[in-house]
């Protein structure tokens, strides 16, 4: 959702639920992600309409376009042995009852 002008912008808290808009399985990771490969990367359409790029996690079966997912906080990557551990959002198959 891109506002027409800065004046129209307002702060919104997303519910954190949505569905898979597109996805891929990544086998050649960039630096910092080697220990996670292979992993699923997705575009998730949040219920509020916004698209988000994020990894899928906690998968027990192969995900599909249209699957319901929810946001969880997970480790994204580590900046080397002595660097910071970066946390952020990933999406897992929806567990919550709607």
């Amino acid at each position: 959702m891109i506002p027409d002008s800065a004046q129209d912008a307002e702060r919104v808290r997303f519910a954190g639920t949505g569905e898979i808009y597109s996805l891929t399985l990544l086998t050649s990771p960039p630096a910092g992600f080697e220990d996670q490969a292979p992993y699923s990367l997705a575009l998730v359409r949040l219920d509020e309409g916004t698209l988000v790029t994020a990894q899928l996690t906690d998968l027990s079966e192969a995900p599909q376009i249209g699957d319901r997912v929810e946001m969880v906080t997970r480790r994204l990557y580590s900046d080397g042995d002595s660097g910071a551990i970066i946390y952020g959002y990933k999406f897992r198959p929806l567990l919550r009852q709607q």
Partner: protein, 385 residues
């Protein structure tokens, strides 16, 4: 605004140049272009490059290359817009001459990627994605293209195999390009056996990492008259941008910036898609070839693979693309690619393409795409009478 002409072209073969440095490749291409144009010292040099700061630990390529060529004191700078660096550098050169500030300019795209191993190159290429909203989540360039391709297949009900003609066409055309990296045709059987890199993208959907340099000499009408080569007139030079990340786009399977860039180019030239005889599009991935054809008005949304299946993108077809191999067959030295596209276009319009010649090519278009479509530059050239 003054008319601008392409007076000379030069290139190194695209490949793995482990024994040649970045500056040597650039110098070879520039010297070839200047000799081809039959001119002496240009007034400025625009270098296109994406990765030297990361892969070669080198910035200031303008100064580095100008001095290496022997053009001491020359005005020179580097232009960066990821894989669209070449197109944007050419536009900078075109503007310098169109404005009347300069009369003779050299543009050189150069990239050296194969000195590094796969992971650092993958990581460096991912800097063209959105660092906060894509790369931080482990996205790579292949993966982002896979996301677009998967959604395109889903929405338009298209099988993966429908993209094969783009790869087969590019490889078949590369056979006739002495500077191409892969001078061999591939069969449908070979395409089917290709390993998947990031599903659905397979090896033949994606262009190869490569080294290479390509150069153009651009000049005013006055310089063109004195030049040895029949000049090619620049009819349009148009750039447009979109969000760097895919998720912020209204429709991730429509290249808005490519559509805008093509439309601006058509408006500048007073032409439409039906006037274009040959189209050097940016097939970094086969999905990008499809989206570029749709954005430039050659196919309706979801119809580009049908155009390819009908043979319309081949040399004898309605809109030949990747006529000398494209990124897929020629190779994709990222920051140099936009210049290679224009060199190939110039080769066609001069009638110098040999067995790869598109018959009767008089007006040609090149579209150079940065990232997953964030920066797009479209040029239209004609063989001036």
């Amino acid at each position: 605004m003054r008319d601008v002409f392409v007076l000379g072209v030069g290139q190194t073969p695209v490949g793995e140049w482990w024994e040649r440095s970045l500056r040597d490749l650039a110098a070879d291409a520039l010297q070839a272009a200047v000799t081809d144009a039959g001119v002496d010292l240009p007034q400025a040099l625009f270098v296109a490059n994406m990765l030297a700061a990361r892969i070669s630990n080198q910035t200031q390529l303008g100064a580095l290359i100008a001095s290496h060529v022997g053009w001491r004191g020359l005005e020179a700078t580097t232009v960066e817009a990821a894989c669209a660096s070449g197109g944007v550098a050419i536009q900078a050169g075109v503007r310098a001459i169109a404005s009347g500030m300069l009369d003779l300019v050299a543009v050189c795209g150069v990239e050296k990627m194969t000195d590094a191993t796969s992971c650092p190159v993958t990581t460096a290429l991912a800097t063209a994605a959105d660092a906060d909203f894509e790369s931080a989540h482990g996205a790579t360039f292949v993966a982002l293209n896979a996301l677009i391709m998967r959604r395109y297949m889903h929405e338009h009900g298209i099988a993966h195999e429908a993209f094969a003609p783009f790869s087969l066409n590019a490889h078949a055309n590369a056979v006739h390009n002495p500077n191409a990296m892969f001078r061999r045709a591939i069969s449908m059987e070979t395409w089917r056996r290709a390993p998947v890199i990031s599903d659905p993208v397979n090896l033949f959907d994606s262009s190869p990492v490569a080294d290479g340099a390509a150069a153009l000499v651009l000049g005013s009408a006055e310089i063109a008259r004195a030049s040895g080569q029949p000049p090619l007139r620049v009819l349009a030079s148009a750039c447009a941008t979109d969000s760097v990340d895919l998720a912020s786009r209204e429709n991730p399977i429509d290249l808005y910036a490519a559509r805008q860039s093509a439309q601006r180019a058509y408006d500048q030239a007073g032409l439409g898609p039906g006037d274009i005889d040959v189209f050097e599009l940016h097939d970094a991935f086969s999905i990008m070839a499809a989206l570029s054809l749709e954005a430039a008005g050659f196919a309706e949304a979801g119809r580009a693979t049908q155009l390819a299946a009908d043979g319309e993108i081949a040399r004898q077809g309605r809109i030949p693309v990747c006529s000398l191999g494209g990124l897929k067959g020629r190779g994709h030295p990222v920051g140099a690619t936009g210049v290679y596209e224009m060199v190939d276009l110039a080769t066609q319009l001069r009638g110098d393409a040999g067995a790869g010649q598109v018959p009767g090519a008089a007006i040609g278009m090149a579209q150079n795409i940065g990232g997953t479509g964030a920066t797009v530059v479209t040029h239209i050239l004609t063989a001036d009478d």
